[in-house]
């Protein structure tokens, strides 16, 4: 097993872990704002790490370029979506959870 | 160029639809629809004549031979349908000029004509295609354009009528799709002739039997066979008059033709009517449909709903003929299909004229009509008697053919149901005549003159129905040829 393969494996595992964390967070976090934070992790850290891991394993240039483009677009759209969702929620007065409140 | 006729039949209306939208003029759109329907009528006559002389015609799309490509097949079994659909379109075109202008706001008129072109193309394509999946596509074209046209009706009830038809119709089409998929799983082909060949002798295949069930239930929705007829009354009753005139004459009829095509030339009569009890179920549903439809028609207080419910009953007559699966039965069914189309188109056209001049076709508003619009009323009486089946109208000839076919197979209960249905038809037609002739018109009501083009369309249909009643040789010849083509092939 070459170094690159090991590295790729580590990245993939880390990505999978990030996705899993995001999923758990979605279920466990108490309010909209914290949950959206968890959701953000899945498509920035999770998908990003997995794509990087895959990038180390490709055998042809055109696949690599495509993966890079996907990575670029994810980096651009994911945070924008999260940002705008949080803004919209605040505009609509979605309440923020504070220590001691009941979970929604 | 005559070799291209089968495709021209469908392509010309298809071509006219985007042109209607593009040119956006009411008059041009009407002209395009008229041109499209005249062209397809010419093609249909030509094709019918050629098929009569030389037998079946096949046309391979894109020159890919079936089963690799899609083919159009013209044979005795679909020439009557092609003629019927395109003739109805011509009449609807003549009729619609004034009727549509009065019922719709100006800017929507070109859209209606575009939809009429599409519905025409869809129905013709459905009748002519020799490929089961292509049939699904054409079915959806005709259905979607019909939903759109129904929603253009004047009252708000039209919207719900259209929506319900859309939901039920889509379920039906999806059932058809499931059935086609199951048949495809068993054979690996979509071409009707190829399917028929590969299906012979696999009567015990359970997937195939399920395919038959799904295809027939899906088509039964489109045919408005008794328990699946719920969409029809409101759809026909609320659509713009020109649309109900065209659709009532053609929609269910084409679905019935597709039913016959599947039953006799794809699945084969021995599977459908031998191994599976489709004939008995068909006869039972036909009887129930005749009785329920006719009875419901007697209790409606809107003329267009009376006519629509009567359509449910008439579908029952035709299904009864088909379910006999004998030459006489199928021929009678085709004959009744033709006769009923002409009659029902005339009646819906008359209802449209009344709607235009009286503003309402509720029975209470028809009082004294016999004196205010004597000629229109006379047309109604003739066509109404045709619905009952009184000689010498068209309805008599076809009902007689059906009765003969039933007697031949000793189906007495069905016969009784048919007679009861005819008596009930006498009741609901009589109710209208009673109101229109014997009740006093409201004070100060003047005689009304309907537009000439609409009268021409109505009287053309009425005289045609009288002519067919007296001399039924032409439709009878077509019907016999259809029955022969259907039963001759699918025996295996």
């Amino acid at each position: 097993m070459s170094v690159i393969e090991v590295l790729s494996g580590v990245l993939l595992a880390a990505g999978a872990l990030a996705v899993l964390t995001g999923g758990v967070g979605m279920l466990r976090f108490p309010d909209f704002y914290t949950r959206i934070h968890a959701a953000g992790i899945t498509d920035s850290a999770g998908a990003g790490l997995i794509l990087l891991g895959l990038l180390l394993r490709v055998d042809s240039w055109d696949t690599a370029v495509r993966l890079l483009i996907i990575l670029l677009f994810l980096a651009l759209t994911g945070p924008t979506a999260t940002h705008i969702l949080a803004h919209a929620a605040r505009r609509d007065g979605v309440p923020m959870w504070r220590e001691g409140d009941r979970r929604q | 160029m005559t070799g291209q006729l089968p495709v021209l039949q469908v392509a010309v209306p298809l071509l006219c639809a985007p042109l209607c939208v593009l040119l956006r003029s009411r008059f041009v759109a009407w002209l395009l629809f008229l041109a499209a329907s005249l062209t397809s009528l010419t093609c249909a006559v030509w094709l019918a004549e050629r098929v009569d002389r030389t037998g079946a015609l096949r046309y391979a799309m894109g020159d890919w031979q079936a089963p690799y490509g899609i083919e159009f097949v013209v044979n005795g079994f679909n020439t009557p349908v092609l003629l019927l659909v395109s003739l109805s379109a011509v009449v609807a075109a003549v009729y619609s000029r004034r009727s549509v202008a009065a019922e719709l706001d100006d800017r929507r008129v070109p859209l209606l004509y575009a939809c009429l072109c599409l519905a025409l193309a869809g129905l013709l394509g459905l009748s002519i295609t020799g490929d089961v999946f292509n049939a699904f596509v054409f079915l959806e074209i005709s259905s979607l354009s019909t939903y759109t046209m129904i929603a253009m009706g004047r009252r708000r009830q039209a919207l719900l009528a259209s929506f319900r038809y859309l939901v039920i119709g889509t379920i039906g089409a999806t059932f058809l799709l499931i059935g086609i998929g199951l048949a495809y799983a068993v054979t690996g082909t979509l071409n009707m002739a190829d399917l028929a060949q590969r299906l012979t002798g696999s009567h015990d295949n359970r997937a195939l039997q399920a395919a038959v069930v799904f295809v027939f239930v899906g088509l039964a929705v489109k045919m408005a066979v008794f328990p699946l007829h719920a969409w029809l009354p409101a759809a026909y009753g609320e659509a713009p008059s020109a649309v109900s005139t065209f659709v009532a004459a053609t929609g269910t009829k084409v679905a019935i033709y597709v039913f016959c095509r599947f039953a006799f030339t794809v699945f084969g009569a021995s599977l459908v009517f031998g191994a599976m009890p489709v004939d008995r179920i068909g006869l039972l549903l036909a009887c129930l449909g005749i009785l329920a439809g006719s009875a419901a028609a007697c209790f409606q207080d809107d003329l267009r709903y009376v006519l629509a419910w009567s359509s449910v009953a008439q579908v029952g007559y035709i299904v009864a003929g088909v379910s006999l699966a004998t030459t006489a039965g199928v021929s009678g069914a085709y004959l009744h299909m033709i006769m009923h189309s002409v009659t029902k188109a005339a009646l819906f056209a008359i209802a449209g004229v009344l709607l235009l001049r009286l503003g309402s076709v509720r029975l209470a508003d028809l009082a004294g009509l016999g004196r205010r619009m004597p000629w229109t009323f006379a047309a109604f009486v003739v066509a109404g008697l045709g619905l009952v089946g009184v000689p010498p109208t068209a309805g008599f000839a076809s009902k007689w053919a059906l009765v003969t076919a039933l007697v031949e197979r000793d189906q007495w209960p069905v016969l009784v149901a048919m007679l009861a249905g005819s008596l009930l038809a006498l009741v609901y037609v009589g109710r209208v005549i009673e109101v229109a002739w014997f009740r006093e018109p409201p004070d100060g009501a003047d005689p009304l003159r309907p537009p000439a083009s609409m009268v021409a369309a109505i009287w053309f249909l009425v005289l045609l129905s009288l002519y067919f009643g007296i001399d039924a040789s032409l439709p009878a010849h077509l019907a016999d040829a259809a029955a022969a083509a259907l039963l001759g092939k699918g025996g295996g």
């Binding site: - | 979607l144 708000r156 719900l160 998929g181 979509l190």
Partner: protein, 134 residues
């Protein structure tokens, strides 16, 4: 039997769930959602028919031996498009129904129609009565 057919059974189950929603739910929008579920079940069934074990997408290349069948895929491409067209028309109708009746529940729409009809009949009766009296 289970190992070879469970995929089909799941597709059938999806169809049935959709069908139930279409028939039993009265909300017009929910009906349309159900209709899409029903159709997606059918689409999956078709694609399942073309699948071949160890096959790959039917795009011909030199290093692939087995391909899944392209025909069901073509059919379903068409069917998906037809489905979305139907959905768009259905939704447009639903919007108009809401504007006309103020509701998208089938039962309420029917109720409003029948009360309207009854009111009309009452008015007519009253008019007739007046006419007879004068």
């Amino acid at each position: 039997m289970i190992a070879s057919h469970y995929v089909y059974w799941t597709f059938f189950a999806l169809m049935l769930i959709g069908l139930y929603v279409v028939i039993s739910h009265g909300n017009l929008l929910k009906k349309l959602i159900g209709l899409s579920l029903f159709q997606v079940g059918v689409f999956l069934f078709y694609i399942g028919l073309g699948k071949q074990d160890g096959g790959s997408a039917p795009i011909i290349s030199d290093d692939v031996e087995t391909y899944s069948h392209p025909l069901p895929q073509v059919l379903i491409l068409t069917a998906i498009v037809v489905g979305v067209a139907t959905l768009a028309v259905g939704l447009a109708l639903a919007v108009r129904i809401f504007e006309a009746y103020g509701t998208v529940e089938e039962d309420e729409v029917l109720e409003r129609d029948s009360t309207e009809r009854l009111a009309e009949r009452d008015r007519e009766r009253a008019a007739e009565h007046d006419g007879g009296g004068s």
